[in-house]
């Protein structure tokens, strides 16, 4: 995944959600993301793709950053500017080298390794790095409001 210094984009803050890294929270989180994507003007297809990307990002935090310990917090920031929705998923697990977060080669009949691949294909930009505060790993994603642009 692209190595980037994660900076706060110039954008309007919509909402900020904090929740424990537990799989049973994800349906609620997705409902909020769905609602925010619609608020930003995305149609059903665009909304689905944003929800899936955030779902995969949180899943990676649950499985890899916290290795299934359900008590670590996940922070989800949702922002928008005129062009895009911006979503930021932060975990407070040990530092991860951005180069370690790579989609595996897509092989037809092998479960797993799809999450990062999905995220990169669903969103227009994806950047993984340390948070500006130095605490936690951040996956920042954005998607253009009008994909024809």
């Amino acid at each position: 995944m692209k190595i980037a210094a994660i900076t706060t984009p110039e954008a309007e803050y919509l909402l900020e959600l904090r929740f424990p890294a537990r799989t049973d929270r994800m349906a609620m989180v997705r409902d909020l993301v769905r609602s925010a994507a619609r608020f930003c003007g995305f149609d059903e297809a665009g909304t689905h793709d944003i929800v899936l990307a955030v779902g995969e990002a949180c899943q990676n935090v649950i499985l890899h950053a916290y290795e299934g310990r359900g008590d670590g917090p996940i922070l989800l920031d949702i922002l928008q500017n005129a062009d895009s929705i911006i979503l930021r998923v932060t975990d407070f697990g040990p530092a991860v080298a951005p180069t370690a977060v790579q989609p595996r080669a897509l092989r037809d009949l092998r479960p797993g390794g799809l999450g990062t691949y999905f995220i990169q294909n669903l969103m227009d930009t994806t950047d993984f790095g340390r948070s500006p505060s130095g605490v936690g790993n951040v996956l920042q994603m954005s998607k253009k409001k009008d994909p024809s642009k």
Binding site: A27, H48, D49, L52, G55, E56, L109, R110, P111, L114
Partner: protein, 110 residues
């Protein structure tokens, strides 16, 4: 979910429903593998799946692998648009046989 399995013409029809995510994928996986173990062809109805992610897809891929090892078929039926989008993304829409509805799937079996 056990009432989600019924037998039609000697095949097992399994219906998955709702959101198949990391939370519910283990349950879907168990259901699918139990069906495959019965050594019949399995038709997985995805018409009522409103969301599926990589973990749900992984359960289906694993079930397909098990079926292939036993020499039985596992195919997808009436895949909802949301689910189809994800199979296409993963380029698995050519790996799984996908039928528009149960009749087409049963005809395809013969």
């Amino acid at each position: 979910m056990s009432e989600a399995v019924r037998e039609v013409n000697g095949n097992l029809v399994v219906s998955l429903t709702g959101e198949i995510d990391l939370d519910r994928a283990p349950e879907a996986r168990r259901l699918l593998l139990d069906c495959v173990k019965r050594s019949k062809d399995v038709l997985v109805d995805l018409s009522a799946v409103t969301y599926i992610d990589s973990s749900g897809i992984a359960s289906l891929v694993e079930a397909l692998q098990w079926a292939k090892q036993r020499g039985t078929d596992l195919c997808l039926v009436a895949v909802s648009p949301q689910a189809l989008r994800v199979f296409e993304l993963a380029r698995l829409d050519k790996v799984f046989a996908i039928h528009p509805d149960l009749d087409a799937a049963l005809a395809g079996e013969n």
